[in-house]
Amino acid sequence: MAVLEVKNIEKHFDSTKVLRDVSFEMEEGSALAIIGSSGSGKTTLLRCLNFLEVPDKGSIIVRGETLFDADRPMKEQEKDLRRKRLHFGMVFQSFNLFPQYTALENVTLSEKLLAKEKPDFKQNKKEILEEIEKHGRALLEQMGLAERMEHYPHQLSGGQQQRVAIARALALQPDILCFDEPTSALDPELTGEVLKVIRGLADQHTTMIIVTHEMSFARDVADQIIFMDEGVIVEQGDARQVIDHPREERTRQFLTKY
């Protein structure tokens, strides 16, 4: 069974159609790259998956559970919105770390807040918080940030901040981790360290959707690639196939620019 099914998503802002009839599926443990020029709708698509935008049409299904269906009443959509969101993790282009918290606190904050809602929190408070702390440290170590846990975001380089953001998104163990142009805000010499981390996640078969402009990276890391243009999926298929031998003329034109 597909871990994610996106069916006929449409989204418009005022009269501009940003997404038109977007459908795709993803298998558990696979990595999907979405490529396309600016304004093609790739970021909007990710934002729809994370419920930062509400699609006007279509449905989103994770592990067989319909999280969103535009045909159902809005009241029902908003119910359990927080729980539904947790199926997806999001890494933003501009990191969006919380400046008043250390790297470790950034990673553990949401997990701690969620733990407080559990009925047994009061009794086992100490153990639960210690466990979360341990988990957060392990994630940051995995990101190669063992020495930076107590640093505040402004004390970290862009590449380090983005790695903290990845750890933060992983902390809640989402089914699908989304990256919105994770290296676009970085200096060229810092993109490598972030791409390396994402590559590592792909090797561990983390289910991921990566919106990116790094074509060679997309080719190497992703299993599938979707090329979008003007809000529609122009071409989708095996990553190497799409990059090396695109079938569509528009894809070919786009790729010659890289």
């Binding site: 930062l52 969006n96 998104a169």
Partner: protein, 218 residues
Amino acid sequence: MFWSVTQSLLDGLWTSFEIFIFTLLFSLPLGLVLSFGAMSRWKILRGLVQTLVWIIRGTPLMLQLIIIFYGPGLWLGHNIWNGSESGRITATVVAFSINYACYFSVIFRGGIEGVPVGQREAGEVLGMTKSQIFFKITLLQMIKRVVPPMSNEVITLVKDTSLARIIAAYELTFAGYSFMKSSGITWPLFYTGVFYLVFVGILTLLFNYIERRLDYFR
């Protein structure tokens, strides 16, 4: 003479301090509520808050104080503030709280809107509730942003307490002025100024301290 002046000025300072502290106590939360109103999705509420802010910021505080103190007595036929000193102080605090809440609401709105949208979105995708996002993420970043403009307003408030003289509340300036009227001496006026300077000086140190405490993040 010096001691009796000091004694009177200390009495006046206490009244000024009461007006100051109670005004802050009420206007800070009220200002925050008004700032939410000004940012509400509900157009009518937004319009109401904007109109209130326009009226309060567009008319003199002294005029507002006069209306709030004398108005109810003339309209209702009995003075709801009763004529005592504490009634005068209460009326002053009410007028000041409304006035300062309006100014604060604009500062707070600027502070909240100045926090990047990405902060809220990051909180949302991490499954936080609206109130968790406000209290755990936005609030401290907002406070950091509003400390400098707030220090201006709070210092202005210290000196605005002297307006309470218009409804005969015995505050600091009234105290200093009364010696000039009764004994024809002017030095208590300068002495009064020193009281204000010390008051504001302490506040300045306090604000510097808060700014330094919030310097650990950017």
